[in-house]
Symmetry: C2
Subunit: 152 residues, 2 copies
DNA sequence: CTGTATCCTGAATGATACTG
DNA sequence: CAGTATCATTCAGGATACAG
């Protein structure tokens, strides 16, 4: 794996993007995927089209308000298409656009990593939590500075 | 590219994880990367170790408080190592752990996608913004329902 | 069924000042 | 240099009611 960090380097001008950090495409995308429901919705729509209430029922805990918001944003970003059928009552179907489909690749890479290393994360967190009350008080006499370099 | 969505499927039991959505490793990871500074810090540390103020200076707009918070979280997750040198004044160096380094791969995948398709996103957003005031009023006589299927 | 309109709370982030 | 402590602000997100 690995040395495909071409993209990463590409978006890192030495003085990182000014306060207009949203200019950074990577952060921009990450922030969207990082909200509470977008990833879940994208993955579901990656399998087949869904209707509004179908998504609502499938994703436990997701409110109507947030589902609408999430879908609208995805639509605005051109990742999802919304099709309305003139039935009574109305039927609306959502599906990934071609652009949206191309996002499944990177998402899968992230998903694979998450699944593979979630145990590590959990372990690290528990270790960190435990380290806040250890008996491991090292010998204070050994605390003497081993190196004292001046910081320029 | 593409059909590597093994991971995605793996974490999608049909009735999506109950309100304890944090159980989902993928969403968990995405939420961290989706905060305002984590991704930026990870990418910088992916190039070489950095000292605290070095990061602070390099990432424009990042406050001391948020840098500390971000680094602590990364440390807690086992993605970043913190090394203190007993100098005067103190010197602290941050570097990726081996686990943290493995995250660079997925991040690169996302970064590559973001760079490649940022223009599409921007275009879609502008189109969506413009579509809110168009003169494209289609012929009302053509508005008749073409299909009226009953929703089950 | 597919939304919109309000209201409300907690978390994320920022600004500022202070410390070892 | 490398933080911590406080306070203020903003915003994502949830609850609820209502509408076409």
């Amino acid at each position: 794996m690995s040395t495909a960090n071409t993209g990463v380097r590409a978006v890192l001008p030495s003085p990182v993007p000014s306060d207009e950090y949203e200019q950074c495409p990577v952060t921009d995308v990450a922030r969207r995927l990082g909200d509470k429901w977008t990833l879940l919705v994208l993955v579901l729509l990656g399998q087949r089209p869904y209707r509004f209430n179908e998504l609502h029922r499938t994703i436990d805990g997701l409110s109507q308000r947030m589902l609408t918001r999430t879908l609208r944003t995805l639509e605005t970003d051109g990742l999802v298409d919304r099709e309305v059928f003139p039935t009574l009552p109305p039927t609306v179907e959502y599906r990934l656009t071609p652009l949206g489909t191309t996002l499944l690749g990177p998402i899968s890479a992230l998903a694979d990593w998450a699944v593979a290393h979630h145990a590590d994360l959990t372990a690290a967190r528990e270790r960190a939590a435990g380290d806040r009350r250890p008996q491991t008080d090292s010998d204070p006499t050994a605390t003497a500075a081993r190196e004292v370099r001046r910081t320029p």
